[in-house]
């Protein structure tokens, strides 16, 4: 075990590096909490997306698959929760639970045949899932009220306590997003997470080591759908309104941007990406007419210089150090 001392010291520095993003995220939330008003709604939006993208990352970043259709599960859950709480008067938590279970079942049933596809074909098939759910939300007028959407969705609450104020929602969402990230970290560092990343690395090798690839792909897909479902339900109860556009293609594009900018395959990348991408338009608002240009430029710069996203900064630094050490020896 001559290697242990060296490993331990680089580990502790590694963990210190991991704390930085948490600290930045916490500072951003405290700022939003105190600023209130519009800023806090932006922060709430970012946190809901953080949950959604954390789930997307389990399927795409860990298991190395691709889905353009996780918005379908946010939509299924969000609409189920909205309809059950408004039309049928269910308590919000029961509505959320039903929505999440519904989306989970849908993911298991739809995932089973869909996940036989790979690469671009899988991308197209999942894209179709999202489009189908969107169309259903538009056309099933008697239940979903079509383009009009459903308003007056009650806020979340337990017993007599309702999460109504912006501040209370911020705290609730921040807690859930942090729990979501911790759960993703737990998954990543476990047997099931290792099976996911093995599939991403080489399906052939994973199978040769006894990993049932199709079962674990489905597991990653369903777990990812549960995150999407929770995010979808949270959205409708936090905003109090839902329409098909909420879970449309725009959601997919936004989530992908967050995933790649934050750092696909990392635990904190989705959270960082969600916060940065949601905050970016607010920050560059001063550019006025050139706002979109600045937005695009920032994205391109990040993707060129940090292809594994902002969360990879500590890793890039370590790699650079290892490489220069190897050259020296």
């Amino acid at each position: 075990m001559t290697t242990l001392p060296a490993t331990t010291s680089s580990d502790s520095r590694h963990y210190a590096g991991l704390l930085v993003p948490w600290a930045v995220a916490a500072a951003a939330l405290i700022y939003a909490y105190n600023a209130g008003g519009y800023i806090i709604s932006v922060a709430n939006f970012a946190l809901i997306y953080a949950i959604f993208v954390t789930g997307l990352n389990i399927f795409m970043g860990f298991a190395g698959q691709v889905s353009f259709g996780q918005n379908a599960f946010a939509g299924i859950s969000g609409y189920m929760s909205a309809v059950l709480t408004t039309t049928y008067g269910w308590p919000p938590l029961a509505g959320v639970a039903a929505g999440v279970v519904g989306a989970m079942l849908a993911a298991a049933i739809l995932g089973y045949p869909t996940l036989r596809l790979k690469g671009h074909y899988l991308a197209m098939a999942t894209l179709a899932l999202g489009l189908i759910v969107y169309e259903v939300a538009v056309e099933w007028d008697s239940v979903t009220a079509g383009y009009m959407g459903i308003s007056g969705i009650p806020p979340l609450g337990v017993g007599g306590f309702e999460v109504y104020s912006d501040q209370a929602m911020l705290i609730m969402l921040a807690t859930l997003a942090a729990l979501g990230a911790l759960a993703a970290a737990g998954i990543r560092n476990s047997r099931i997470g290792r099976a996911f990343v093995a599939i991403a690395g080489s399906e052939e090798a994973a199978r040769a080591l006894g990993i049932n690839v199709s079962r674990y792909k489905l597991a990653a897909f369903v777990i990812s759908a549960v995150y999407a479902a929770i995010a979808g339900s949270l959205f409708v109860h936090v905003v109090g309104f839902v329409s098909p556009e909420v879970f449309g293609l725009h959601m997919v594009v936004l989530a992908f941007t967050m995933l790649y900018v934050g750092g696909i395959g990392t635990v904190l990348g989705p959270v960082i990406g969600a916060i940065i991408i949601t905050a970016l338009p607010e920050v560059i608002r001063d550019f006025k007419d050139y706002q979109d240009l600045a937005y695009g430029a920032v994205l391109i710069l990040i993707l060129i210089y940090m292809p594994r996203g902002l969360a990879s900064l500590p890793e890039l630094w370590r790699q650079w150090r290892d490489d220069s050490r190897r050259r020296a020896s």
Partner: protein
């Protein structure tokens, strides 16, 4: 009881018969090598045994239990674990994590233990870590445990792949051209390591091009030529076998490459 038995195994790709009616018995213990000139069907035979492709005809038995057409993950669970001619590492994972993935078959735990980190789950993780480090020690990669697999030199990548396969506790370890791309010294080290694996009671099945490695490592050798099984014997017998000499040196050789 034989460990591995092939009965009339045939695989055709369109008009090409890559493996032609091969019957072969592999006894437990020691190292058995399958050799043959380029294009003799060695890798196809290997893929048939490990379940990567299905045979056109014939049957495969592991411990007298038929495994023909079973998927690779089930065959691995029965104790036959393989490596690949083109190294198939999980390139973005660390060396240590690669080996940890190898313990999949002999560990338990799904989502619940991942999320709640129970005492049992933590104990098992501890064991996985210890076992993985032991295996890295065994192949001489312990000092690279935290290195990303992709940046290892090629020779070490091969050793890592073997450590990872050993983590799956095979009874039969099948190595597909493990010496490809190694220099003489690395190849000698590999030979010694294969012997040490066999000494632990793990049967090694070796598909190899490098005659030096095969002659120094194998107890038994089976020779393929044009998909057909043309000879079996000890290294000394194979060296003198006229059919083998013809296959390797005869005028046919030019058309194989």
């Amino acid at each position: 009881m034989s460990l591995l038995r092939l009965e009339h195994l045939t695989r055709r790709f369109g008009g090409l018969t890559a493996v032609d009616n091969v019957s072969l018995t592999v006894e437990p213990g020691g190292v058995t090598a399958i050799i043959g000139p380029n294009g003799a069907g060695k890798t196809t035979l290997f893929n048939l045994i490990s379940g990567a492709i299905a045979p056109t005809e014939g049957r495969v038995f592991l411990d007298d239990r038929e495994i023909t057409g079973k998927p690779p993950e089930q065959i691995a669970a029965l104790g036959l674990v393989r490596t690949f001619q083109l190294v198939q590492l999980f390139r973005d994972l660390t060396v240590l994590e690669n080996v940890k993935v190898g313990t999949h078959l002999h560990t338990r735990g799904g989502l619940i233990s991942a999320l709640f980190r129970t005492a049992g789950a933590r104990r098992e993780e501890q064991k996985v870590e210890e076992r993985a480090l032991e295996l890295l020690e065994f192949v001489g990669l312990a000092s690279h445990a935290e290195t990303r697999a992709a940046v290892l030199p090629y020779g070490q990548q091969r050793l890592l792949e073997i450590a990872r396969a050993l983590a799956a506790r095979p009874r039969l370890l099948a190595l597909d051209e493990p010496a490809a791309g190694l220099n003489t010294e690395e190849s000698r080290g590999l030979s010694a390591m294969i012997r040490r694996v066999a000494d632990q009671g793990i049967k090694v099945l070796l598909i190899e091009h490098d005659m030096n490695l095969v002659m120094n490592t194998a107890d038994q050798i089976a020779v393929l030529d044009f998909g057909r099984h043309i000879a079996t014997g000890t290294p000394d017998e194979i060296r003198k076998d006229p059919a083998v000499l013809r296959a390797y040196l005869g005028e046919k050789e030019a058309s194989h490459a």
